[in-house]
Amino acid sequence: MAQPDRAGEEAHWRKTTNLMLAHLGVWVFFGYIIHMFVVPLNKIVIPILDFPLGFYMAAQGSLIIFVVMLFLFARQQDKIDREFGVAEED
């Protein structure tokens, strides 16, 4: 594991920031943008379950994305921390 130094710290923070922005982007998309298209999406009906898609995304779809996203984020950030030797000791 590399010893943290100034350059390493900056690279670590750059990667962390990028990860933050990526997740923020997904959050904006599933929190807001997709729901702006609820009327056209409602014309699509999910087979078998009978949900209109626009309604489904606000009631369940986006929520599932958020949950999965958070578990994924925790893993990705931990990987970045380990890569630069700034993770906590186990």
């Binding site: 933050m20 209109p52 626009g54 599932i64």
Partner: protein, 667 residues
């Protein structure tokens, strides 16, 4: 040393799993026992009291058993709550009486537009995890104002933080205690004041002796009760209707049936559709059609304010101070959202099943065919038919006869239901035994009590740690600090209970306001404090005052002084989302001396909450405050000198999980 800690932590984990496993089993056995008692013929009222007092006693026992005399145990549970369990505790901390009882009702009433709350109250945890929570954990604060004080050097920032915290938490905790009174009185027939008092005792026994440590272990127990209580009736209902015990999958069919039924009602002349030409109260708004109750701006505004508010509310952020590591803080946010998700993605199913029942068995039915559960709630004033409380069949028949041309068949506009009834009446609609109803009441109480515990602790800790210890008496010994913390907790709780017992009219609306206030006051200062080294003390102080100030101003003026808002501050009537017309005729109302002189405006004043800027609902005042806060911090910071080298080095420390917490107290 390191291996020893790991070994004891492992033992701790295993013990926790077994303990809560036994607890859950015991709870299920308790429900079965009461079910048997019901069959034997024990009266419902007794069963209800069993539910309330047994669950309260269990919470109290946990609270007393986990009492502590250590500062770090009291404030942050010793920082050793595993991610999974902290997630459960956060779930209970988060889901309030409003989530448990009110949300399904809002979805029933608002249809698609109600989903703004479902989205808003879940998506905020994304921000908690990626922007705020883990960094505050690394910093090692006991309270949110602790961080503000440290990062923005000094007690002025701390003091502002305490004001914001108390302001958004106190009304919120009052609403929870009010919620316990409401649930117990409506559901178990207890007197409202007695129920409030019982709730107060329950809260105090949990929180006072053990602080955060006791609240944590109690909240986990409360989560288990509330989630079992919420899911049981709806799982049974789904199985009855569709043969599949997963309501979240089957209610799509119910929605399709609702849509078909809506069209049929309009065709049969039993309902009038809300259209762009005319959309007064009492018209039917199709369940899946968006932006009929909120304009698109206010719909997305609510989502945004609730999400950002989540990441700014101190009682939520402080839960992540309790994990053993930064990594576990992140894991813990993910678990929290999973546990919260279980309730929120089921709430729309409640709404759909109830709506289907109302549209098929009530609207369009003959009055004398109404089912008895309706009159039970009508008797409490929660269901009105033909403009009168549906207290009995005869009263309902008389009320409808009084309406000219009423044919005895119920129309859409005849039926008004209080939103709280949706969750509480589902067991009866499904024809389930009373024991399930009691279970639901116990779940609602658990939701209200657990949130109250967390909020109370946040307020009392800010007062005892930030105001008393950090500002008034920095040399206070441990014992005195803990005594002060407990005494303050007691008085804050009693004050909240006293306020709740007086049934203030705006108390439930204030919960929504708390999110916007927290977001405007805390979010810019916390986020920039972590993510922008250049943010300065002056910048943050000005930003908090400006952002929080404008939000509070907008709320207070539009709710309590709308006359002045119109006359001096250029506020205009909000618009009807469907027709785009003004909701009220402002000049006509102002011409009436009765309303003009109504200061501060009463709840009945037609102007109250109905005026504003940019057609912005006042619950969304954070949309004004937060951007202003960011802007002010940015501009003022750039005008001043950059923070010291030492401060910048400390911010670097916060950004790395490894190493000791920045703020370490050696007690």
């Amino acid at each position: 040393m390191a291996t020893q800690t790991t070994a004891s932590t492992d033992a701790f984990y295993k013990q926790l799993g077994r303990m809560y496993g036994i607890y859950t089993g015991g709870f299920v056995a308790f429900i079965l026992l009461l079910a048997i008692l019901e069959q034997i013929g024990v009266p419902n009222k007794i069963l209800g009291y069993f539910f309330v007092f047994f669950t309260l006693a269990v919470y109290a026992i946990i609270g007393v058993a986990t009492r502590t005399a250590q500062i770090s145990e009291y404030y942050v549970a010793g920082r050793r709550v595993p991610a999974f369990y902290n997630g459960m505790a956060t779930g209970a901390d988060w889901m309030s009486a409003a989530s448990f009882v009110g949300m399904a009702g809002s979805l029933f009433l608002l249809g698609y537009d109600g989903l703004a709350w479902v989205l808003g109250w879940t998506g905020g945890f994304v921000l908690v995890s990626i922007l705020v929570g883990p960094y505050l954990r690394k910093f090692g604060a006991y309270t949110v104002p602790d961080f503000l004080s440290f990062r923005y050097g000094g007690n002025f920032a701390r003091f502002l933080g305490v004001i914001v915290l108390v302001c958004c938490s106190f009304t919120y905790v009052t609403a929870q205690i009010y919620g316990t009174g409401l649930i117990a009185s409506r559901f178990l027939g207890m007197q409202f004041e007695i129920a409030v008092f019982a709730g107060l005792v329950g809260i105090l026994l949990c929180a006072m002796l053990g602080g955060m440590r006791a609240v944590t272990w109690t909240q986990i127990a409360q989560y288990i009760v509330l989630i079992v209580a919420y899911l049981t009736p709806i799982v049974i209902l789904s199985t009855q209707h569709y043969g599949i015990p997963i309501p979240e999958l089957t209610y799509g069919k119910a929605i399709a049936e609702i849509t078909a039924r809506e069209q049929q009602l309009v065709k049969d002349g039993l309902a009038v559709l809300c259209t762009q030409q005319s959309c007064p109260a009492g018209t039917l708004r199709p369940h899946i059609q968006p932006f009929m109750n909120y304009t698109a701006l206010n719909y997305f505004g609510i989502i945004f304010c609730m999400m950002v508010g989540t990441a700014s509310l101190p009682h939520i952020l402080m839960r992540y101070f309790t994990t053993p590591s930064v990594k576990e803080a992140r894991d813990s946010v993910a678990w929290s959202l999973l546990f919260i998700f279980l309730l929120y993605f089921s709430a729309p199913a409640y709404a759909a099943f109830s709506k289907l029942e109302v549209y098929t068995n009530i609207i369009g039915a003959n009055i004398d065919a109404l089912k008895p559960w309706i009159f039970q709630w009508g008797d409490l004033g929660l269901i009105q038919i033909c403009g009168k409380n549906a207290a009995s069949l005869q009263a309902t028949i008389d009320a409808c006869k009084a309406i000219a041309g009423h044919g005895g068949v119920l129309r859409f506009q005849d039926f008004v239901i209080n939103t709280d009834v949706i969750v509480l009446s589902t067991p009866e609609i499904a024809g389930l035994p009373y024991v399930i109803s009691g279970l639901v009441a116990a779940g609602g109480l658990a939701a209200a009590l657990s949130t109250a515990d967390g909020l109370l602790l946040a307020i009392a800790n800010a007062l005892s740690h930030d105001i008393y210890y950090k500002m008034l008496d920095p040399n206070a010994p441990t014992i005195r600090r803990l005594t002060v913390a407990r005494v303050l907790l007691f008085f804050v709780a009693v004050a909240a209970a006293a306020l709740a017992a007086s049934k203030p009219s705006d108390i439930l609306a204030m919960v929504g306001w708390a999110f916007s206030l927290a977001m405007a006051g805390n979010f810019p200062a916390i986020v920039l404090g972590i993510w922008w080294k250049r943010a300065t003390t002056t910048g943050a102080v000005c930003g908090i005052i400006a952002g929080w100030g404008i939000c509070l101003f907008y709320l207070v003026v539009s709710r309590y002084f709308p006359q002045m808002g119109v006359t001096y501050f250029g506020m205009t009537s909000l618009l009807n989302p469907e027709t785009g017309q003004a909701l009220i005729n402002v000049s006509q109302i102002l011409a009436d001396p009765k309303w003009l002189g109504d200061l501060p405006a009463s709840a009945a004043n037609p102007l109250a909450n109905k005026v504003g800027w940019f057609d912005l609902n006042n619950i969304n005042c954070g949309l004004l405050g937060m951007p202003l806060g960011f802007l002010v911090i940015y501009v003022v910071s750039l005008l001043g000198k950059e923070p010291s080298r030492e401060m910048q080095a400390l911010i670097d420390e916060i950004r790395k999980p490894r190493g000791k917490t920045v703020l370490e107290e050696n007690v």
